[in-house]
Amino acid sequence: MTQQLPVTEAELHAYVDSLLPETRRAEIEAYLATHAEDAQRVRVWREQNHALHELFDPVLGEALPARVRNPALLRRMRPALRYAAVAAWLALGGVAGWYLHDYDTAKSVDAVAFARQAAIAHAVYSPEVRHPVEVGADQEAHLVGWLSKRLGASLRVPQLTAVGYQLVGGRLLPGSRGPVAQFMFQDGNGQRLTLYVRNGAGDSKETAFRYAQERNVSVFYWLDGKSGYALSGEIDKAELLRVAKVVYQQLNP
């Protein structure tokens, strides 16, 4: 029989926790066979591990409470932190979280990035209570004139009252290809939708309606020549589509 190293307390624990190399494991077993007191301690420790799993493993199967999975928890955060946090949160979902219909060209990658930026902007500003927009609907003419000038395009704001949404106002945002406009709408229950508009993105081929979803934010988006539009909301797909069709018809008569 080969000379065994002395068995340490740490090794007895490592034996219990299955953290020993196989050869040493066999040696510890041989040791325990002749040391009843240590064998008893090891047996109890192993039972403790087992009992901990019995007691707490059911937590793994529980439905997650809304407050630990819902990005709404972000709403309590200061706005300055919120943008980075929401961006990180959405990025965490990864590309896998998006329903991609076409992912084989640079343009569609660009379109997906556009939709994601729209979702992030929605998640950041739609919960805002005091400053949801920079310019309110009461100054609609000024709002449209200002954003048109900054985007270098003649913007139009769709009228969504027929589908239950009133204009709240809009704001200017930085986009990956220059300034972007965000218009916010709200229904009678305070449910908000945002329309994210960019211009001058080059000769994007016209795309059909595309749908993306990340966390609770659904987005319908389409690119049309130099312009791109994305309508975002935390409502179900069918309801959002209903509004998106109205937006599309009004902007592309």
Binding site: W45, Q48, H53, V59, V68, R69, L74, A88
Partner: protein, 169 residues
């Protein structure tokens, strides 16, 4: 981004399991997880892509937990709430008293020993990973683990003698 993103969400149940065992209370555990997730979101740029995301999340939660403990007035002990006992009864077919003993005994361990015991015994981290999460030397992990297991053994052996157990509110 693909794998890690899904993993982040996948770790939430494990964070909850650990928090439940650590605090003994459902509501307090979810408070802890929620605070830890918010902290992780704010600090996400500090995470090194490619490093162990699970270890990082547990580290963040450990730091949040320690800060919460420091913020508490000394002398407050947390008893078992009803939900914890309900979970326990679902968890095992064995006698409720026995289960309650384990939960109670756990809560009687010093925080530092309980953390080590749970990271190793429940979360099944290596000693090295546990040392990293708690920010302590591996030798300290081993001594705390040893004391935790022996103390738990003594507590449970003792409670077997006293068959009626009072839950401290």
């Amino acid at each position: 981004m693909d794998g890690t993103g899904r993993d982040f969400v996948q770790y939430i149940p494990r964070l909850r399991r650990y928090a439940r065992a650590l605090t003994g209370e459902r509501a307090r555990a979810d408070d802890l997880v929620q605070d830890a997730l918010e902290r992780a979101l704010v600090k996400f740029h500090l995470w090194q892509p490619g490093s162990d995301l699970r270890a990082w999340l547990f580290t963040v939660m450990h730091n949040v937990y320690i800060n919460q403990l420091r913020a508490q007035p000394a002398g407050i002990t947390y008893g078992l709430d009803d939900e914890a006992i309900q979970v326990a009864t679902r968890a095992t077919q064995s006698d409720l008293l026995e289960v309650r003993d384990l939960q109670t005994a756990l809560l009687r361990l010093p925080e530092e020993q309980r953390e080590v015991l749970l990271l190793v015994g429940l979360e099944q981290m290596t000693y090295q990973e546990t040392a990293g999460v708690l920010g302590i030397p591996i030798g300290t992990v081993m001594s705390r683990l040893s004391r935790a297991r022996e103390r738990l053994r003594a507590l449970l052996a003792g409670s077997a003698v006293h068959s009626t157990l009072k839950v401290v509110k």
